[in-house]
Symmetry: C4
Subunit: 375 residues, 4 copies
């Protein structure tokens, strides 16, 4: 079967996720489009203030541990949309993963399945959604499988997409709401990134309509933004799919409340990995405020800058129900394919379990605000 | 016509205003006076604490975006002195622009006119004010055209200057009040900057009277400062010109209130780009305090460290009615003449529109304090 | 006698503890296992945030001195567990010191004895506990001699160990409670550290039982943690040894209170030198909170990042009864054996006395919170 | 006359005090004892935290200027001990200035006299106090001339010294109280500084008694500190000299109050240039607290990290009556002798006047807390 995972040797000396990044850079650079793709993957918007702030904000949090508790039989399981997961790690939607490894999203699916991680496939995946789903289904212990999408102003197209997603067995929809237009990703633009021949969003057929502008009109305000999603489109999605819907990129509590009132199942607290509007607050700052505003029942996931098991624990302590990993798993993919991603996931989970043990958390329910040190 | 813009090739790879600075440095260095002129343009006072703080203060502000709002038909128009402007960008007064490009202020005027930006001509411009005005008038969509001046203790001279400014079609006067004496611009002094042959303040005729000091007198307190503007001179200007008057460089709220009481039309919140007294607060700190003290009706513009569309949006959120761009447009002038300045203006406006779209602002009226994240 | 100290020449130019670190690195690198052992000694967990924060937190404290007080006959003596000590310095438990010098813990004991410092022998010492105790007993002015241990889930083994410790003349037990499992010490793992032939924990006989796990069980939660110490084990230790018991690694005030209620004699405020869970608060932050919560009578020692006499004074001002020195004395051991450690101890004590004199403290009882400057 | 100032060429390009430091380093390095003397002059205690903090604290203060005020006839005069001074700059006591220039303190006196600066001669001056006084007396516009001293536990010696100081025409005494023992100046110790042949404290005759210690006694607490000054010695000095007495190095408000109650005329807020106890607060933090505690009438001078005219203005705004310049004038001495020091003083005064003009201060009485920006 062509969709069986290719097994590669793991580079030596990988002891944390940063090591995967270094290993990946060497491999990606060897590709013809390597340098530009690297800028595309790792760059952020403008001066990358938010990109750096995401990392820094987790680092700046301090844990106040408990000792001498009995932790026998502890675990890092969480419940999400009615399922019990082995651990709270999901893979964030990232486009065009064939840029970084020939197996692209398939390799990632194999790793996610093997390590019981959730997978949120990007609408701009470079592999057919059905093949990814088949890999996940083949493993009984696999984590949840969700589908991320952007709104396209073509209801016929959207309806067909939703039907295909449901038919393929995806369990939830994730609508990205923080990128109605592209951010100014200077690093990527300077590198002159464009998709190489043969890598494309294979799940998105149809044709985008060209912009038709009058002289003096703004491409943005008069061209692109009228086609972007609003609250009405969220309602339309709720009405036209039986799948639970999550919104990714909500920052303001009023928007969060409105989403929940419209029947949205959960929110992914995100600043798009620092790739849209530079100057957004780090997600480690957004998360606790949203949790405080929305109460304990709302489903809140978070991404952005998670690199350590202690970051995952901090996110849970700040109120996350689960955590998305982004660029690091693509680094692992580039470094060593499916095995690389599996190893990165295992490593992060191990770090999480160690962090729990060392801070006296038997389960993640023990990780609340009291775990965080206040000066 | 000699005043038609020279069209030059844009250097490749200009994706943000910082790129123009790099491109400019290469071109300016090639001039005989290049290194000194570069120090003159980019240097600040003393240790350049304020120069750096200006930039840092914008970077330190975080935006809290809204999502899923309908932004169709949005725009970045503002009203200023009774005119509607396409966008809130004006070019700050900067002296002797022929130092950086043979076309000097003329090239800048062509770009401002083409991009509908406002232009505040420096009294120390190296091109005749009438030629600059003619370029601006030739473009119906051109932004406002204002004239900046320093007080000279010679009322006859001043009256003639005001008449010439009015006759040339300038729409407002900007009196700079934060530089009664030169700041200690160490970088510039170390570079030994002096005006090269043939570049001078062509609009300032007359002769400055030499200082006549008694032994033991202070050149500053007994020589220069008695000739500097005070509130009486502001009143004199109000009485002797029909043009609206703005003050540039007011920092203290009591001074701001007094200015408005004397009929001043507006204030430009500025620390002179960090070029006068090192240690002044960054303008991003001064602006919100003045807005809070003066109420919503006062006209407040701001300059200092604006390099990004998100900086412009932050300035508007902090209470600015419009924003001045300083050194960056001279970098663009040096890098590629009129086309360079036009490109820089377009780029900054595009960044502003993207920032608005990504933070959910349909118009700049949506950019208020609630757009800023408070920790 | 083979246990007499070898006398080596001190490297020139050692004026502070940082100099010993530099001198040590050169000597350690020359050993076959040098680079890895260096990483083992100096590395911390993960990104070493806590390792750095420990140092920074002492540096960030400011002293507010008194002047013109009569300090004649002052001293830096303290009382600990009923003994009067010449000064408040103890040597923290560090494993396998033969990695750094052939004389290992014996050289350290000679220095501690000569300089009247306390010594806390690590259970993982590479020299027999009786030989260390004999060296300390040979010097009447020697400081206290304590024994550090980890819990092993084998009561027979533990009982034998306790009897041997008591018989050898150790005066107190220190149970390390902040490391039920290993931290992720990336630097050490990257260096591939393992114990060289001939260096081992000579005082720990017996055999650890291998983990027996079911498929799907967590090595951590189902294997290691069930064997770790809990509060019941603390009570067992109290019941099975007549020696005073201290806990090392308590951070939370509730744990501290529980320990004192169970008859624990004192606490060592520690984050294990940044070697267990990265993200723990610096000990200079933990200490004053514990002191405030527990009141003036509780016995609190502190370690982590102490490098200067002024750090010791700050620790005392924050409420410590004494202070542990860790890595620096091993640097001194590596640099020049027993003489190196003695010199380092003398140097630190001299710095402490100077700091007392310059801040107006006649004795350490004068070092309270009022000695610390609050902004 | 041998005491006439040698006139040297000023190095080119000196635009601020930092330039003098660079110029000085080149000249000092050429001396046989150059490197060690440079470490002695510029080094601070231990990790030089306080040394750096002194500078940083001035930089961190922001000025909030007023504009359009009439400043004609302004000046920077201050009153001190009943005299009106042209400006608030005094030269701090620094030992052994012949280390840096053959003319040593004499050159400095010529410059101080020419620039109307105050001079505080160090008791450890390398030139006879009478020759220094003669230079100062020769210039009618010279600033105040004070004498700094340390307590020596020999009342006969002290009485002779006081008589000589008075006879030589010194106007005040400055007792340094923050250095009863040497600080641990690591940089200086590492450089192996010792006084070269022929440079010594020529004004301090007599012989220091050697320490006589019993075994087990502390050189510090039992040897040096019993000889140090206490409050009784302050009273003795008040009783045995008609000169006003200032204390240098008081940090705590209770000590300050006690000093004033004993008839001390004023305090010099100082941390000894970061040379005694590392970790002392920067003087820019100590000064406003002391001013707030002591009220407006107390005489408070300040030193430490002053390098800019704006620093002087900030110090005055924080409550100083005058300001001491330390290392920078010795840099100027080394760079160009008397002319160098004169130029440095003029430059700093010019910067001060510019800072006053640019912040709207006609006199230094206008520089109060309202001049400082509060976030």
């Amino acid at each position: 079967m062509s969709d069986a995972p290719r097994i590669e040797a793991l580079p030596a000396g990988l002891v944390n996720l940063a090591d995967f990044e270094a290993a990946a850079q060497a491999r990606v650079s060897a590709k013809p489009w390597g340098e530009a793709a690297w800028a595309y993957l790792n760059g952020g918007a403008a001066d990358e203030i938010t990109l750096r702030a995401n990392r820094q904000a987790w680092d700046d949090l301090r844990l106040l541990p408990r000792v001498l508790r009995r932790l026998d039989g502890g675990h890092c399981r969480v419940r999400l949309l009615g399922r019990e997961l082995q651990h709270p790690l999901l893979l964030a939607p990232i486009a065009y993963q064939k840029l970084f490894h020939d197996d692209g999203e398939l390799a990632v699916a194999h790793a996610a399945a093997a390590q019981s991680a959730g997978l949120i496939l990007s609408a701009q995946a470079s592999v057919e959604m059905e093949r990814v789903a088949a890999v996940m289904r083949s493993e009984p212990q696999a984590g949840p499988l969700w589908f991320q999408l952007y709104w396209r102003d073509d209801r016929e197209f959207m309806q067909a997409l939703l039907q295909r997603v449901e038919a393929a067995g995806y369990e939830a929809l994730v609508l990205t709401v923080d990128a109605p237009v592209h951010g100014a990703r200077d690093r990527e633009r300077r590198a002159g990134f464009k998709l190489p021949e043969g890598i494309r969003a294979v799940n998105l057929g149809g044709r985008k309509q060209p912009l038709e502008l009058q002289p003096g009109q703004s491409a943005l305000f008069d061209g692109l933004l009228p086609r972007a999603a609003g609250w009405a489109e969220v309602e339309w999605l709720r009405a036209h799919s039986r799948l639970p819907l999550l919104l990714k990129g909500v920052a303001h509590e009023d928007d969060a409340r409105q989403a929940l009132q419209l029947g949205v199942s959960g929110l992914i607290v995100s600043n798009h990995g620092g790739r849209t509007l530079d100057s957004l607050p780090p997600t480690a700052a957004l998360l606790p405020r949203l949790r405080a505003e929305l109460g304990p029942e709302a489903m809140l996931l978070v991404d952005g800058g998670i690199r350590r098991g202690s970051d995952v624990l901090k996110a849970m302590a700040l109120g996350a129900n689960a955590v998305l990993l982004g660029r690091p798993y693509v680094h692992a993919l580039a470094a060593a394919g499916a095995l690389g991603v599996a190893r990165a996931l295992r490593l992060l989970r191990d770090e999480l379990e160690i962090a729990m043990a060392l801070s006296g958390c038997r389960t993640l329910a023990d990780a609340g605000p009291q775990l965080l040190w206040r000066d």
